[in-house]
């Protein structure tokens, strides 16, 4: 604990000086929440490896920085600077947040159908606070850890997505979080909220990108409430600077027969921590959580998932794969909690890891707690290397060894990509796979 203590004062001082200027300042309910979150942070600080949830992820590298809050505005960028976010044929309603603040210049909201609204969180707090009061910070627990506390205390912006009953979006909503180098080392606290009405459907992409190689912390929390029969397909594409830090939570709450699909791809960042949690709080709710992480160098990635089956006949399917090279390290911890009422639960979990170097390391842990007696739960975790028999098979056909290894690695990762419904995203990730695995060309593999 001692290593992180000094930063408490830093954030407390910082909070005291900017709290009056944060979005929604003056709303008593929000002021109270932010103050409570700051108090909580003062008590717990950043997590340490002595806490079970952070056992394999040491955040000392984050703790040693005195991050400054997001600046009020940043300009000077053009649409072309959005890089990979400009996926061909995506045709998304695009909302861009530059260094923690909504950037109208870099956004292309397009025309949303009646009954659908996407707002910057800061604008929504100014213009429709009553719509947020009963929703914001109700799902994700700001007491869970120091990052969650800091996020609620300091958040500057994010997206508020509201879908009325029966609204179905044809085009995806793309939230681009772009970070650039800045004079100071910044921490961007981003807060998104999705409120999906009964029977509504949408595809939402959270896309994290940076320009150059800045050092920063993106600390994001996304809350999603899926009403009965709602369907949300959520993509999270993390392509941060390899010097950046990325800590994010997706916290979903699912009503009867709702469906959540999450695709999470983690490629960048020095350290990335993803918490993906869903509470299946009514009968027949389903969630599919898919993930792919590819790390190299000294990167560290940590996926923590938690599915709470609270009511009968819920379904959860988890499918995570990792490819590690260099001295990189990955953590997967999949918790499935089947509550006493949740009979006929069907829960499946799989985590498979491919180690391409001797110095890479994976800690994978399924955690099943089952309190109902009529359930189907399975889990499997593997850590392995490329199958030498397969390498020989390809080489015996004339394929050089490095290409053979690249093809097999691509093949290993590819079935996670295949699960994605959005073709432009699939193409982007395939392209990245190819560029990360030299000498494999994408066109023919598909």
């Amino acid at each position: 604990m001692s290593a992180v203590m000094p930063m408490e004062n830093h954030y407390a001082d910082s909070f005291a000086s900017i709290r009056g200027n944060l979005p929604g300042a003056g709303l008593p309910w929000l002021d109270d929440l932010r103050a409570a979150a700051m108090d909580r942070y003062a008590t717990i600080g950043l997590p340490t490896t002595r806490q079970e949830e952070w056992k394999y992820t040491n955040v000392r590298a984050i703790a040693k920085h005195a991050f400054q809050p997001s600046p009020v505005s940043c300009t000077g960028l053009m649409e072309d600077d959005l890089g990979d976010a400009l996926m061909e044929d995506l045709q998304a309603h695009r909302f861009t947040f530059l260094n923690g603040r909504y950037s109208p210049q870099l956004s292309r909201p397009g025309k949303l159908p009646k009954g659908a609204g996407v707002y910057s969180m800061s604008a929504a707090l100014a213009e429709m606070p009553e719509a947020l009061e009963s929703l914001l910070a109700r799902q994700a627990d700001y007491r869970a850890n120091g990052f969650a506390s800091l996020n609620l205390a300091f958040f500057t912006d994010g997206a508020f997505i509201r879908l009325d009953e029966g609204v179905r979006l044809e085009r995806p909503i793309q939230l681009v979080f772009l970070t650039t180098a800045h004079g100071e080392t910044l921490s961007h606290n981003l807060r998104n909220l999705v409120a999906a009405g009964i029977g509504s459907r949408a595809t939402i992409i959270e896309h994290y990108l940076s320009i150059g190689d800045p050092v920063y912390l993106n600390n994001a929390v996304t809350e999603a409430v899926l009403s009965a029969n709602a369907g949300i397909e959520h993509y999270k594409l993390q392509q941060e600077s390899t010097k950046g830090f990325h800590v994010a939570t997706l916290q979903a709450h699912q009503e009867r027969d709702s469906e959540l699909t999450s695709h999470s791809v983690s490629l960048g960042a020095n350290l990335a921590r993803h918490d993906i949690n869903s509470v299946l709080d009514a009968e027949g709710a389903e969630c599919s959580l898919n993930g792919l992480y590819i790390t190299g160098g000294r990167q560290h990635v940590d996926y923590h998932t938690r599915v709470d089956h609270k009511k009968p006949e819920g379904v959860s399917k988890e499918y995570y794969k990792g490819v590690l090279s260099g001295k990189s390290r990955a953590v997967f911890n999949g918790k499935v909690h089947v509550h006493q009422d949740a009979q006929k639960t069907d829960a499946e979990q799989s985590n498979r890891n491919l180690l391409l170097s001797r110095d890479a390391e994976v800690d994978t842990k399924p955690e099943l707690e089952i309190y109902a007696d009529d359930v189907k739960c399975s889990h499997g975790a593997t850590i392995g290397q490329l199958d030498e028999n397969s390498v020989f098979y390809l080489r015996s056909r004339g394929i050089p060894q490095h290409i053979a290894r690249g093809m097999l690695t691509y093949g290993f990762a590819h079935d996670v990509v295949e699960r994605m419904g959005l073709e432009p995203v699939r193409r982007l990730i395939e392209g990245i796979l190819v560029s990360k695995l030299p000498h494999v060309e994408a066109s023919g593999i598909e």
């Binding site: 098979y393 390809l394 015996s396």
Partner: protein
């Protein structure tokens, strides 16, 4: 491949006194074999005699320790070459257990292989269109469903489809020397016939084929010019096709007795 490139001497594969260890145990104990272009040789022998070891050592599989002897293909030393280089020189091994490669499309896999081989010979690489045309023609030649071209390599293929895919790859890669390792294992009689027809369609004056098998059944379909019996790491008897039939009737026991006599 221009026939005159190899001159008048038809001797293609020469194996002299080959000695191979696997995990410290001697498996091949001084094996000699000569195979000429245009010939089909069958290598028969009981389990554990070293048949598959021979096939894999020629193809260059890692894990085999060559402790003596040499192997030349068209007069060039083979054993110090990487497996991909051997493939470029014209060696092809049809696997007993073809490997499933999930996520890698069959067409892409084979196009990469063919272009690597073409490149090594100084030939132009084929583009996607030309390759597809070639692949369809060859699939027809070996009676393979063209739908399998679009699937991941061998993934979910039946035993017969996998073996047919091996022969299809052979048809596309046009090897100088093809070694079929227990191609008949796990095949029913219909699949065996189809696979054999594919192999027969690929018999050529400038190509040699080595059929490694435990049973003579396969040789009813792929009729060999020569039959060799491998026992305890050596070829102990060679002959014409009739030798296979003798083995069928009498088993391998008499060979061992004759060898030890």
């Amino acid at each position: 491949m221009a026939p005159d490139k190899f001159g008048d001497d038809p001797e293609m594969l020469t194996i002299k006194d080959l000695r191979v260890n696997v995990e410290g145990k001697e498996i091949l104990k001084g094996l000699d074999l000569e195979v000429n272009a245009g010939e089909v040789h069958a290598i028969m022998g009981p389990n554990g005699s070293g048949k598959s070891t021979l096939a894999h050592v020629v193809a260059g599989r890692p894990g085999y320790e060559v402790v003596g002897g040499d192997v030349t293909l068209d007069g060039k030393e083979l054993l110090d070459k990487e497996p991909e280089k051997r493939a470029c020189d014209g060696v092809f091994l049809a696997f007993q257990y073809p490997v499933e490669v999930p996520g890698v499309n069959n067409t892409y896999f084979l196009k990469t292989a063919l272009n690597a081989i073409r490149k090594s010979r100084g030939e132009d690489e084929l583009d996607a269109m030309d390759f597809m045309q070639l692949a369809r023609d060859k699939a027809k030649l070996v009676n393979m469903d063209a739908g399998l071209l679009k699937r991941s390599v061998n993934e979910g293929f039946s035993g017969g489809e996998k073996k047919r895919n091996e022969i299809f790859q052979m048809a596309v890669l046009e090897p100088r020397l093809a070694i079929l390792d227990e191609t008949d294992s796990g095949l029913d009689i219909d699949a065996l016939r189809i696979v054999s027809e594919g192999v027969n369609a690929l018999r050529r004056e400038d190509r040699a084929i080595i059929v490694v098998t435990h049973y003579q059944r396969l040789l009813d379909y792929i009729v060999p010019d020569f039959v060799h019996v491998l026992s305890d790491g050596r070829i102990v008897k060679s002959g014409g096709r009739g030798l296979a039939l003798e083995l069928e009737e009498q088993g391998y026991g008499w060979i061992d007795e004759a060898a030890n006599a």
